[in-house]
C-alpha cells in the first residue's frame, strides 16, 4: 500500500495534501498497489473528498490530541498506522509539518527517506529511484531507496492535484496516542492571499521600487493575477515589506508556476529561493541585470511604466476570458 498523510491544519485539507494524494496515486498505480490516505485530528472536514484525488481508502485518527501536530506524537501515530496497514511507501508533504515528521518516521520505520522530491519515482526491482533538486536549485540528484519501507516528502507545486475519482467514506483507525511535550500557545495567520509556499503565481519586487510607498502598483498587479506578493532581502531588511515575504537563500524557497520579478537584480542568493519556478518574468531597466539570464521572459524598461501597463493588460485578458 501507498499511504499518504494528508495535512489538515485547523481541520481544512491543504492544497499540498491534494497534491500528495495525486502523487501517491501515481506511485501506487506504478507499483500496482492500493492507494490510501490518512488524516489526523478530530476536526477534519471532508476527508472523504481525498477519494477524488485517487485514495481508494481514507483513514482518520480521531483525537483532539492530534490537532496540534507535535511531531513526536504525529510520527508515532503515523508509524503505527503504516505498520498496521502494511504500507510500503509513505508520502508526506514537504511543508513545515511534513519536514518535522519525515525524519522521525523514517527512523521509526527503519525506512529510507528522500525529502522534497519533485518528480514521480521509477521503480527498479525493490528499489525506488526518485529525483529532487539539490545545491539550492543548482543541480538535480537521483536518489535510490533500497529499504522495504520508503518515505517520500513532496515539494509544493510539483504537480497539479487531479480530481478524477469519487469521494469515499472515511474509516476510523484506532491508534494509541502518546502524550506530547509541545504545546501550541498561539497561531498567528497572515490574512488575505494564498500563503507564499503554496502560491501558483507570485509577484515579487526589490530595491528598484525605491520606496515602500510605491508598492501600490505591485499590489495591483498581484490582485489582477490573484497572486501572492514577495520581496527581495534588502526590502524586508529595511522593513519596507513584512519579513514573511522575503524569498531567497535566507528567506523561503518557493516554486510557483509563475514568478514575476520587478526591480530585482537577480543575485545568486535571491535566485537560490526562486530558480525552481516554472516560468520567470523579469522586469528591469538594466539590460545587464543578472536576473535576465535566469528568466524565460524579460521586459527591459522602467518598472513604474511597465507594471501598470502589465496590470492593465492582465485585467483586459481576465475580463475577456
Amino acid at each position: 500500500m501507498v499511504l499518504i498523510y494528508a495535512e489538515s491544519p485547523n481541520g481544512q485539507l491543504k492544497k499540498a495534501a491534494l497534491e500528495a494524494v495525486t502523487y501517491g496515486k501515481h506511485v501506487a498505480d506504478m507499483l500496482g498497489v492500493e492507494c490510501a490516505a490518512i488524516t489526523l485530528g478530530n476536526n477534519v472536514t471532508d476527508a472523504g473528498s481525498l477519494g477524488k484525488y485517487g485514495a481508494a481508502r481514507v483513514f482518520n485518527v480521531n483525537s483532539s490530541n492530534l490537532n496540534d501536530l507535535d511531531s513526536q506524537v504525529t510520527a508515532a501515530v503515523l508509524a503505527n498506522a503504516a505498520k498496521n496497514l502494511n504500507a510500503s511507501v509513505i508520502v508526506l508533504s514537504h511543508t513545515s509539518t511534513g519536514k518535522s515528521i519525515a525524519g522521525r518516521l523514517a527512523v521509526r520505520l527503519d525506512a529510507g527517506l528522500v525529502s522534497g522530491v519533485n518528480a514521480l519515482p521509477e521503480s527498479n526491482g525493490d528499489t525506488l529511484l526518485v529525483k529532487k533538486s539539490v545545491f539550492s536549485g543548482k543541480a538535480i540528484a537521483t536518489y535510490a531507496i533500497n529499504s522495504p519501507v520508503k518515505v517520500l516528502s513532496l515539494m509544493g507545486n510539483a504537480l497539479r492535484p487531479e480530481a478524477t475519482g469519487a469521494p469515499v467514506s472515511v474509516e476510523t483507525l484506532d491508534i494509541a496516542i502518546p502524550a506530547g511535550k509541545v504545546r501550541v500557545k498561539e497561531t498567528k495567520t497572515i490574512d488575505g492571499r494564498v500563503p507564499l509556499p503554496e502560491a501558483e503565481v507570485v509577484v515579487s519586487a526589490g530595491r528598484g521600487m525605491k520606496d515602500p510607498s510605491n508598492w501600490g502598483i505591485v499590489e495591483e498587479l498581484a490582485e489582477a493575477l490573484d497572486a501572492t506578493t514577495a520581496c527581495s532581502r534588502p526590502v524586508a531588511d529595511s522593513n519596507w515589506r513584512p519579513h514573511h515575504e522575503h524569498v531567497g537563500q535566507t528567506g523561503i524557497a518557493i516554486r510557483p508556476n509563475l514568478y514575476i520579478a520587478i526591480g530585482i537584480s537577480g543575485a545568486i542568493q535571491h535566485l537560490a529561493g526562486v530558480n525552481n519556478s516554472k516560468v520567470i518574468v523579469v522586469i528591469n531597466k538594466d539590460t545587464e541585470a543578472p536576473f535576465f539570464k535566469a528568466a524565460d521572459y524579460g521586459v527591459v524598461g522602467d518598472l513604474f511604466d511597465v507594471v501598470p501597463r502589465l496590470t492593465e493588460a492582465v485585467r483586459k485578458f481576465k475580463a475577456s476570458t
Partner: protein, 246 residues
C-alpha cells in the same frame, strides 16, 4: 545548560556546482567550503547568546573528515566552548543523524540546535531524525527562542503564519531567519579557538537506506525572450498561450 550545535560543511553559496564525468559524485575541485549558513548564523549564534546569558557550555559537533577542522575551529572562534568531530564521511542525512544521536545519547544535552536545512542537499532531515533517535521533542524552522528555566518558548514559521509553542527541555530545535544575527569572529575569538578542545570520535555502525546515484545539472533555460515594454498585451498572450501559466 548544556547546548549542542550540529554544524555541517557545505559549498559556498556562490560556488559553481559540477560533478565527475559519469555524474556519480560532486566535484570539490576549486570549490570553497563554508559552515552551512543556517547552522552558523542562527543555530550556533543563538546557542552562544543563551550560554552567555545563562551560563553553561556550547558544544559544536560535526560529522566529517579532518579537512573539516577549519570549519569546526570557526565555530569555536564564534563562541562554542568545545567541539567534537565524528571521523567519517557524512554520506547521508540518516548516517549523520545516527552518528550524532549515538554521541548525544550519553551526554544529556538540554538543548540541541541545528540550521533549518543545509544548502547542499536541502533535506531538512537530520533534526527530525536526531530527535527520534533521542526520543526528544523537535521544533523545526524556529525564528525565536527564549528560555525560562526548563521551558522554552519558541516561535516557528508555518505556511502563511507564525506559531508560538512551549516545550519542556530537553528538545531539538532547527533554526531559521530571525533566531539571531550573524557574528563575525573577532581576533580574540580566533586566538582562543586554537586552544579550545576538539575531540575526535570514531563512528558507530549504521546502515543507509537511501543515497544519491546520479547528479545532473538542470536543463539549460532556452534563453530569455524579450518583450517590448510597450507591448504588455503580447506578454500576457505569451504567458497564456505559450507558457500556459495564466
Amino acid at each position: 545548560m548544556k547546548f549542542l550545535v550540529c554544524i555541517s560543511q557545505t559549498p559556498d553559496t556562490t560556488a559553481k556546482i559540477s560533478f565527475n564525468a559519469d555524474g556519480t559524485a560532486f566535484n570539490p575541485a576549486g570549490v570553497q567550503f563554508i559552515m552551512n549558513p543556517y547552522d552558523e548564523w542562527y543555530a550556533l549564534v543563538r546557542a552562544c547568546e543563551l550560554k552567555e546569558a545563562l551560563g553553561g557550555t556550547v558544544v559544536a559537533i560535526n560529522v566529517g573528515p579532518a579537512t573539516n577542522e577549519t570549519t569546526i575551529r570557526k565555530a569555536l572562534a564564534i563562541g562554542a566552548d568545545e567541539a567534537v568531530r565524528i571521523d567519517a564521511e557524512p554520506h547521508s542525512s540518516a548516517y549523520v543523524a545516527s552518528q550524532i544521536g549515538a554521541y548525544a545519547k550519553a551526554e544529556n544535552f538540554d538543548l540541541i540546535f541545528l540550521g533549518k536545512e543545509t544548502i547542499d542537499y536541502n533535506g531538512s532531515e537530520v533534526g527530525s531524525m536526531l530527535a527520534e533517535h533521542l526520543d526528544l521533542p523537535f521544533i523545526s524552522y524556529a525564528s525565536k527562542l527564549e528560555l525560562n528555566g526548563n521551558m522554552a518558548t519558541v516561535e516557528r514559521e508555518i505556511e502563511g503564519g507564525v506559531q508560538v509553542l512551549e516545550v519542556e527541555l530537553p528538545a531539538v530545535v532547527s533554526a531559521a531567519k530571525g533566531m539571531a544575527e550573524q557574528r563575525i569572529p573577532n581576533m580574540r575569538g580566533i586566538m582562543m579557538a586554537r586552544s579550545k578542545p576538539l575531540k575526535v570520535v570514531q563512528p558507530v555502525e549504521s546502515t543507509d537506506h537511501a543515497g544519491v546515484t546520479r547528479f545532473e545539472l538542470p536543463p539549460a533555460k532556452a534563453g530569455v525572450k524579450l518583450v517590448d515594454p510597450e507591448q504588455m498585451d503580447e506578454l500576457v498572450r505569451l504567458l497564456h498561450e505559450e507558457a500556459k501559466v495564466i
